[in-house]
Amino acid sequence: MSQPGSWHTTSTRLVLVDDHRMFRSGVKAELDESMVIVGEAADVDEAIVVVAQTRPDVVLLDVHLPGGNGNGGSDVITGSAGVTTESGEPVRFLALSVSDAAEDVIAVIRAGARGYVTKTIYGQDLTDAIRRVADGDAVFSPRLAGFVLDAFGAAAGEVAVIDEELDRLSAREREVMRLIARGYQYKEVAKELFISIKTVETHVSSVLRKLQLSSRHELTAWAVGRHLL
């Protein structure tokens, strides 16, 4: 599942949700042929309908969308809760944003998105990120990693004693986050730490879980206090 070779054997069914048609067609042109775009939507309500109808593997979701309850991408995720693909996996969401406002990104991640990338991402990286999300892994950009380090106090030296502690990162998770923040790809992280890519993905998924579930006070305070991620 985590081996790059296995990704190319099956195609990924994709739904694009973005209110800018130009951006949607740009993404379509950049993705390679293993990505099948089964639907598009321009606002929250349309997106919920399209996702329920097409049951895609991955939804590429803009953070800022009109319609719904005014919460943009988060509303799509909430409205699509329980929708599964044909193989029974939950539909997964990858958030795309141009704003980088921390509160938006955190809101969409806490709503259930499996990752976050900025809209300036290069074509191949986007394809990789979509595959990773389709496989159930998490996608962290360097910026999101930096945010996590900050918000969990890891940069200041706070480290969880046990892995299950929701409000802190474990030492290993902190190492992984630091390398991602330094611009390392997952396989480079794996090589650096002498672990497998699968283990890196496990750590990242665990950090994502903490990000979604933690009630750490600094998390929201940070997101509100900082405009930029």
Binding site: D125, S141, A145, G146, D150, A151, R182, E188, L229
Partner: protein, 438 residues
Amino acid sequence: MDLVPTPYELPRSAVGRSVRRPVRRMKRPIQGRRIGGVCVGLAEHLGLNVRYVRLAFVLACLGGGAGIVAYLFLWALTPQSLGAPAVAGADAVAGSQPAEESVRNLVVGLGLVVVGGALYAQQRGVNLHLGVLIPLLAMAGGAVLAWSKLDDAERDRWLVQDMGSGGRRAGLLRLGIGIALASIGVVVLATQGLGLAGLWSVGIAALAVLAGAALIAAPWGMRLWGDLRAEQAQRIRQTERADIAAHLHDSVLQTLALIQRKSGDPAAVVRLARAQERELRGWLYAGPLGSQATLASAVTEVAHEVEDLHGIPIELVVTGDRRLDDGGTVLVRALREALLNAARHGSPPVSVYVEVGLELVQAFVRDHGPGFDIADVPQDRLGVRESILGRMSRHGGSAGVRRLEHGTEVCISLPVRPASLSVGQPATVAEPDTEGTG
């Protein structure tokens, strides 16, 4: 006022209005008015010639003063409009005359007529009861003085002058004098022949009357207050819109024009677009943070400088922050050199991660070029050896160059004294740049 269109507003008729017949409200135009604009407004509203309306009011005044009451009633209850009246007979000459001047002329003229009439009657031996007349006149004068303060146009001017306190003080003074004059008139009138003893009961009666009047005037006051608030909000919104428009014009539109002219040069286009993006983000999100001299802002500045110099996107992530001290400056200089090297010899994307800890500041500069070994660099090339490694070791820090599978990474670290600890904000992750690529 609600009739001033803003350039960004949608046409009012766009939504919702088509289903409902618009309610036409009477307004008092500023232009073409003699006193308060009531006659012009009424003529406009009813579609009559304004001369007939004025004549009707004058006739009504003669018949027991009903005209005055009706006039004041309409004046108080109709909003003012800034537009020109669309009615026959409203002459343009009067329109150019400031409203305040016409009011003043009227008051002075009335005063002269009354004084003249009084003197004439006195000479003829008619008892005018001056003891009654003078307080009455004082009350009327005071009321006019105070009320003129509440006229809409006057209020506008008052608000504008709010900034400079001189105009406001003059306005308050006028209001105060008016109220004092009217009160004195009331007291003198009420206490005639009663002496000091009667003053007490009269005072209570006057207070009761005042309370009643306040009760009756309350809705009017509320309307005025509501108007004022709406107007202020509108004004603030307009100023903000104008600010945004001006900023967009100076920055984004200029850059777009430049980009169109340089469309043949992709590197220049990218550079312009990124510089503009940064500027816009800084303007939208930065707030007051950027004004402090912190390590994070210095690092951000350096990264932007190198970006602009070489047109290469630099992904910058900073966690934590602290005040910029000497050590920080050294670190920033070394970082700049490393970034310049990465931009010159490496290939994009270039990633920078700066971690400001409690005891250690670490910076990582990573590029995706072919990479190099420090041992292979000729001895006479001083860039890496002096500006980065040497500089850091001289200042108690350390630096190293690592060759990775794809590219090079320069690590700079500097121990810091916890004494000059963080600047109080939880963290800074610098302004977003292009995502990394593989």
